[in-house]
C-alpha cells in the first residue's frame, strides 16, 4: 500500500496541475492601483454625491 501511494500522488498532482492555467496578460499590468480604486469608489458614489448636493442647497451656496 505504501508503494502504491507515490504514483497515486503523482497522478493526482498531475491532474491538479492541469487545472491551473497561467496565462500571460495581453496588456502590461498597471501598477497605478491607487487611482483605479479611487475611480471605482467615485463611480459608485457619483449618484449619491449628486443627490447630496441637490438636497442640501444651503450647504452649497452659489
Amino acid at each position: 500500500m505504501k508503494q502504491a501511494s507515490l504514483p497515486l500522488a503523482l497522478a493526482a498532482s498531475a491532474l491538479l496541475a492541469g487545472c491551473v492555467q497561467i496565462q500571460a496578460p495581453d496588456k502590461p499590468i498597471e501598477i497605478n492601483l491607487n487611482v483605479n480604486i479611487k475611480q471605482e469608489v467615485v463611480l459608485t458614489l457619483k449618484k449619491d454625491a449628486e443627490d447630496l448636493v441637490n438636497n442640501n442647497p444651503e450647504l452649497f451656496p452659489q
Binding site: K38, Q39, V42, L45, A49, L52, N56, L59, P61
Partner: protein
C-alpha cells in the same frame, strides 16, 4: 368680491411670512455668496469650501460652519455606503468642480493652486468620473 378683503389679508400675511424667512436665509448665506462671487471663497477638490485670500473673522466663521455641516452629511453617507468620509468628500468635490463653479469664480485643485474659472471646463482630477 366680498371675499376679496379676507383673501387679500391672508395672502398679504403669507407674503410677509415667506418674505421674512427669505430675508433670514439670504442674510446667513449672503456673506458666503458674496465671497464666492468675488472669488475670495471657492470650491475645493476635497469637497469643502476654502479661502483664496485671508478672510474676515465673520466670513471665516460662516464658511467653517458650512464645512462642518458638509462633513456631517458626508459622514452620514459614508457610514451608509461603507466608505470613508474622504471618499464621499472627494466625490462631492468632483461634482461641485464640474457643475457648480461659474465663470469668474475661484476653485482649488489637488495641486494646491487656486485658479479662476474661465469658459473652458475645469481640468478635473484623474479620479473624477465624468
Amino acid at each position: 368680491m366680498t371675499l376679496s378683503r379676507k383673501t387679500l389679508a391672508l395672502a398679504g400675511a403669507a407674503v410677509l411670512v415667506v418674505g421674512a424667512a427669505g430675508i433670514a436665509y439670504a442674510q446667513s448665506a449672503g456673506a458666503v455668496s458674496a465671497a464666492l462671487s468675488s472669488g475670495e471663497v471657492g470650491e475645493q477638490a476635497d469637497g469643502y469650501l476654502g479661502f483664496r485670500s485671508t478672510p474676515s473673522g465673520e466670513l471665516r466663521d460662516e464658511v467653517d460652519a458650512i464645512n462642518i455641516k458638509r462633513r456631517d452629511v458626508y459622514t452620514k453617507l459614508a457610514t451608509q455606503r461603507g466608505v470613508t468620509v474622504r471618499d464621499v468628500a472627494v466625490t462631492v468635490g468632483c461634482e461641485t468642480l464640474q457643475k457648480r463653479v461659474a465663470i469668474g469664480r475661484s476653485y482649488l485643485l489637488t495641486d494646491g493652486v487656486w485658479r479662476t474659472k474661465d469658459e473652458d471646463p475645469i481640468a478635473l482630477p484623474d479620479y473624477c468620473v465624468q
